[in-house]
Symmetry: C2
Subunit: 341 residues, 2 copies
C-alpha cells in the first residue's frame, strides 16, 4: 500500500503510528527483505561462520534532539546509548559503533567537542569502540547545529527471544522502571519554557540490565520505550501479534516530578519518551525469575509486572484505569514533542 500523505510531517518522526505507516508503506515496501520485515529494533544477520556466537546484530539510529544538552545527557550520550539499546533489545551485546555527523556551518567547535567527549565516555563505559565515522557540513540555516546517526554492531546472542508470534494469553507484561523521564526533561528545557525542577533524563545503556536475563527461558519479546513512550511499544506489539495487551494503570511507576509536569501540561506519561527503560513479555512461569534478575541491577530496581496478554479479538491495548474503569490506550498518530531523541 502506498503512502497516504503527500508531505512529511512532524508526526512521521514521532515513533508512533504515523512513523509505522511511513516505514511500512514506503521503506519496507521498496527495501523489502525478510530481515527488515521483522521491524525489530535490531537486525539479526547470518554470517559466513558456523559458530552461532558470531551471529551479527545490527541497529541504526538518527539523533536530532533539541536542546542538544539537557540534565542527564546530551545528543552524544543519546547517540551512543540509543543504538546500544537497540542491539540489546535484539538480545545482543554491542561491540562496535559507527558515527556520522552532519554539522551546521558556524556551530561552535567547543560544543562539538563536549558532545564527542560524551560519546567517547559513554562508549568506553559500555566497552564499545567507535570504529568508523563521517563528517559533513551544510550551510548555515540548512541544519540545526548537529545531527548524529550511529550504527551498532554486536556479535552473539546472550538472550533467546522467542518472538511475538509466540505470545499466549496469560503471558506477563513487565516494565523495567518509572516512565517518561526523558520526555519530561526535554520538554522542561525547551526554549521558552522555564520550569524549576530536578528532572533528569533516564538516558542509559540497558545492556548490563538485559545481561541479567541470560539463561532465563520463556522470554517472548523485549523493546526499549523511546519515542512515543510505553504506548508506542505496546501498540506495536498488539498490532504485530494480533493480541490484546491489558495494562493496569495503577502498576505503572511514574516519578512525582514527571507526574507533576504531566498534570500541569495535560500530558499522559504513557506517551512520553524514555531512554533507559524497557518492556518485556514473558511466560507467567518465568515472570518471577525475570523480575528478580532485573531488580538486582540499579537500572531495574523498580521493575514490575504491569499487565497481561489476554484472549484476542481485535488487537489493541486496553488500560485498566486507576478509577477502576477501562479505556483504550490509543496508538497515537504523532507525538506531543518533536525531536525528543
Amino acid at each position: 500500500m502506498s503512502p497516504t500523505t503527500s508531505l512529511i510531517t512532524l508526526a512521521h518522526g514521532s515513533g508512533a503510528r504515523a512513523t509505522h505507516e511511513l516505514v511500512t508503506s514506503l521503506f519496507l515496501r521498496h527495501f523489502n527483505n525478510p530481515i527488515l520485515a521483522t521491524l525489530e529494533d535490531g537486525a539479526c544477520l547470518p554470517t559466513a561462520c558456523e559458530n552461532s556466537a558470531a551471529e551479527l546484530i545490527v541497529a541504526t539510529d538518527g539523533h536530532v534532539v533539541s536542546p542538544l544538552f539537557f540534565p542527564g545527557g546530551d545528543i552524544g550520550t543519546l547517540a551512543i546509548n540509543g543504538t546500544l539499546n537497540d542491539v540489546a533489545m535484539a538480545g545482543g551485546r554491542c561491540r562496535y559503533l559507527t558515527a556520522s555527523f552532519i554539522l551546521e556551518e558556524g556551530f561552535p567547535v567547543s560544543q562539538l567537542e563536549k558532545i564527542v567527549i560524551s560519546m567517547a565516555e559513554t562508549a568506553r563505559a559500555a566497552g564499545v569502540q567507535i570504529i568508523a565515522g563521517d563528517t559533513k557540513v551544510v550551510e548555515r540555516g540548512k541544519c540545526d547545529g548537529v545531527f548524529i546517526s550511529t550504527t551498532g554492531i554486536g556479535q552473539g546472542k546472550a538472550l533467546m527471544l522467542e518472538g511475538l508470534s509466540h505470545l499466549q494469553p496469560g503471558d506477563h507484561i513487565l516494565l523495567s522502571g518509572d516512565i517518561g523521564r526523558h520526555g519530561a526533561t526535554i520538554l522542561s528545557h525547551r526554549q521558552g519554557l522555564k520550569f524549576e525542577s530536578d528532572l533528569t533524563s533516564d538516558c542509559a545503556d540497558l545492556g548490563p540490565l538485559i545481561a541479567q536475563l541470560t539463561g532465563i527461558q520463556g522470554l517472548r519479546c523485549l523493546r526499549d520505550a523511546t519515542r512515543g513512550g510505553v504506548s508506542a511499544v505496546l501498540n506495536e506489539w498488539a498490532q504485530a501479534s494480533g493480541h490484546v495487551l491489558q495494562i493496569d494503570e495503577a502498576r505503572i511507576p511514574v516519578s512525582p516530578n514527571v507526574a507533576a509536569l504531566c498534570d500541569l501540561l495535560g500530558l499522559d506519561p504513557l506517551y512520553l519518551a524514555c531512554e533507559g527503560r524497557c518492556l518485556l513479555i514473558c511466560t507467567a512461569e518465568s515472570a518471577e525469575s525475570v523480575l528478580t534478575a532485573l531488580q538486582a541491577h540499579p537500572l531495574g530496581v523498580q521493575a514490575c509486572r504491569v499487565g497481561v496478554v489476554v484472549e484476542s479479538d481485535v488487537p489493541r491495548v486496553e488500560l485498566l484505569t486507576i478509577f477502576g474503569g477501562r479505556r483504550l490506550l490509543d496508538w497515537s498518530y504523532g507525538d506531543p514533542l518533536p525531536r525528543i531523541c
Copy 2:
C-alpha cells in the same frame, strides 16, 4: 593537539585538509582506538570466528548533496554507492546496509519515494540488503529536505592490501578513469547556474571493478576519489606514508565537457569530486596485471598509470605539468563546492 578553529566552517565538510584536521584533532583524539586510527575508508574488525572469511569490514557515510536529483543519480544512489565503495576500498564486498533518514517537515513524500526507489534499485543491483533503518523529522527550516546516513557491512577480504607503510620508491600510481564528473555535474545543476551540457555524475558501485583484482599481489593501497577529488587522496597518502607522489598531469584523463566547465569557471579537475573512480598504488611488477584487470571492466576502460612514488624528503604531491614544469599539488584546505555528496 586540540582543534585550531572555534567554529565549524564549510571547509570542515570538504574532505580536504580541514576535514582531516578536524577528524584527527577532535574525533580521533577522543574516540581513540587502533581501528579508527588507521583513518581508512573501511574499518576491518576481528570477529568471534576463526574463519578469516568472516572478518568484518564496516564503513559509514553521511549524504547531504544539493541538489537532491542530478543527471546520473540522486542522493539515494550516492547513499548506497558511496558506502559500498568505502567497503570495497578496504578490500571487502558489502552485503548489508543500514539507512538513517533525517527529513524536513513539509518534504514531499513523492520525492522521498523516488529516492527510496533509487536506493532499493542500487542495492538490489549490488546484491546488498538494507536491513535496518531509522527516520527522524525536524521542523521546517531545520534541515534541507533530506539527509541520509548509511553504514555498510561486508564480510571477507577479497583483496590483500599491504598498506601505506609498505610504499616504496618506484611503486606505480594508477587511476581507474576520467576525473571530476560528479563535481562538475553537481556544479552545473546548482541553483542559479544554467549550463547546457551532457555532464552526468560517475556515481557507481566500484565493487565489481575491484573484484577484478582478486588474487593479484603487490597491491599497496586503494581509495576512491570523492570529496576533494584526486588531490585529496594523493595528499592524504603522501602525508600518511611520508613519501613524495609524483603525478604526470598529461596522463590524467579528463573528459572534454568536464575540462570545458573547469576552464570556464577557473577550476582544477584534480580537486573536483568523483563518485565512481579510484586510485591505487601497486608495485611496478604488478602494474601491468592490475591495469589489464581494470580495463577489462566497463568502469575501468580508461584505467591508466598516472604517476610514481619517488624518494622522499618532505612528503608531498608533485605535479609534472603539461607544460613540462613542476608544481606542488596543494592539499587544499576546503573545497570549491560544499555538499557535493
